[in-house]
């Protein structure tokens, strides 16, 4: 499912006005894996929150296929995952998935059952456990299973693995990539890790500091499997570093 964004701006009012996003134009074809990178507080989260209809834009329009975000949410076309696994601690692993399943009622039959998604993320034996008995990595695996269960064509992911240790994060990132290959959703994935962005994505959007704008839109067509010691991998990394460096120097010079 394609996402198209026209002249989108967003401001927050909390005492003073914060220009979170300014004049965003963006077209994301379906099944694309897009990484969003940029300094903290640059509006990346705001953008995907707008697409998920968690907030409403000040100016501009978002279309998901032919429909607006509200309708897309009502139709179950958007799955959301954030840094916190947001599991309900009083429910078991299975209970958490059943609850998510409740909200899929009336929609077309999903691809995978609860048993199958648990199997897929490697939690098959843990159905009766409670989330507090799971490690941080396993909790995010459960959140991934819940996302799979939703069977949505669009996945919005706000730094889903940022709170995990490096090894666990690497594993889960690979897992995410393999899920994307198998289920081909459109993915918008916020990350602070440019290595991961280069390794996984089809396209990298670099955001500027406030007000958030897209300052670089870089296609990434390095063939998989991508290895860090490859030439084109290193080239893209240096290019990203240069853009990000310029951005941070720029904002420093612009400061009054």
């Amino acid at each position: 499912m394609q996402i198209s964004i026209k002249s989108l701006s967003h401001q927050y009012f909390n005492g003073k006005t914060t220009h979170a996003l300014e004049d965003i134009h963006l077209n994301i074809p379906q099944k694309q894996f897009v990484a969003l990178i940029g300094p903290s507080g640059c509006g990346k989260s705001t953008l995907i929150r707008l697409i998920a209809n968690l907030i409403s834009p000040s100016i501009g329009a978002i279309k998901i296929g032919q429909i607006d975000p509200q309708t897309a949410i009502e139709n179950g076309q958007i799955a959301w995952m954030a840094q916190s696994p947001a599991l309900l601690p009083w429910l078991t692993v299975e209970g958490n998935l059943k609850l998510a399943d409740r909200f899929q009622k009336g929609r077309q039959k999903r691809k995978l059952s609860i048993e199958q998604v648990l199997e897929r993320v490697g939690l098959a034996g843990a159905a009766d456990q409670h989330p507090f008995t799971l490690s941080g990595g396993m909790q995010q695996r459960l959140a991934l299973a819940r996302l799979l269960l939703q069977d949505a064509p669009i996945w919005l992911m706000d730094e889903p693995f940022a709170a995990l240790d490096e090894l666990t994060r690497e594993r889960l990132t690979e897992e995410l990539f393999s899920l994307w290959k198998d289920f081909s959703p459109t993915v918008l994935w916020i990350t602070h890790n440019i290595h991961e962005a280069v390794k996984l994505s089809d396209r990298i959007l670099v955001f500027s500091d406030q007000p958030g704008r897209i300052i670089a839109d870089i296609p990434n067509s390095i063939p998989h499997p991508r290895l860090e010691n490859q030439h084109d991998f290193q080239d893209l990394l240096s290019r990203l570093r240069a853009v990000l460096h310029q951005e941070s120097v720029g904002s420093f010079v612009d400061a009054p």
Binding site: L54, I73, A82, L88, F103
Partner: protein, 256 residues
């Protein structure tokens, strides 16, 4: 992970209580304090043993009043907190009224209720309910309102409506807060019943205490106090035990 009182801490507790009572016993016998000022604990226990029926009946009545009032107050608190959570528009008005009631001293209301409703159990139950109601309302309301934003985002992404968010997220999130309130109001409910009985009653520990006080029969007065203290502690223990079962996902306390 959950707190279990260790054998060592149990011995320390018993030791401290024993030291207290032995000290009291010795102080009374050494200073030759007359029994109408302060009876020795041994004298109080003797009074308890020699009048088992009197104290059993009084205790039963007071406990019945206290627990009925507690139940009504707790249910009313939960109900009103739920209504205020689902209809946030009326919160300010209702809370102002609730604080007004809370700020009125119960020792002023209790005689009035006795005047209006007589010496029966009803005024005692009302006073206890009024005292139990407010802490439950405040705590459960905060529990329902202060949910994890990550959970809220998730439910919004599922297109959950207000009622579904209440049922599956806000209500279970408030359970730990409910127990915090119960730990306050549980033992307090005994005080409510006793204060109400003190203003005029046909039975109960409050009446026993009042009669003993007017006759300067201090062993009787202290016997009632001992029962109240023990009952309050037992109620508190039952609540903390139930809390550990119900709120199993939270580690109890980090003492010991």
């Amino acid at each position: 992970m959950h707190h279990k009182p260790s054998r060592k801490s149990l011995f320390i507790t018993i030791g401290i209580v024993l030291v207290f009572f032995i000290g009291w016993e010795l102080a009374v016998s050494i200073s030759q304090t007359p029994v109408y000022l302060l009876p020795a604990p041994s004298r109080v226990v003797k009074t308890l043993i020699t009048h088992p029926d009197t104290f059993a009946q009084a205790t039963f009545l007071t406990l019945a009043e206290a627990l009925s009032g507690l139940l009504i107050g707790v249910l009313a608190g939960i109900l009103l907190a739920s209504v205020l959570t689902l209809l946030p528009g009326i919160e300010d008005g209702v809370m102002t009224l609730a604080i007004l009631i809370k700020s009125t001293p119960m020792v002023a209301i209790a005689p009035l209720l006795t005047l209006w409703l007589g010496f029966g159990v009803l005024p005692k139950i009302i006073i206890t309910a009024l005292m139990s109601f407010f802490p439950v309302l405040i705590n459960v309301l905060s529990g329902m309102q202060r949910i994890d934003p990550a959970h809220h985002d998730l439910f919004r992404s599922w297109n959950a409506n207000r009622w579904e968010i209440f049922r599956f997220l806000r209500a279970p999130s408030a359970v730990p807060y409910l127990f915090t309130a119960l730990k306050i109001t549980g033992p307090l409910s005994l005080i409510g019943a006793v204060v109400a009985e003190w203003t005029g009653a046909s039975g109960g520990l409050g009446r026993t205490m009042w009669m003993a006080y007017t006759n300067l029969n201090l062993p009787f007065l202290f016997a009632a106090i001992f029962i109240l203290a023990a009952a309050g502690m037992i109620i508190y223990r039952i609540i903390t035990w139930a809390e550990e079962k119900a709120v199993f996902w939270q580690p109890a306390q980090f003492n010991s």
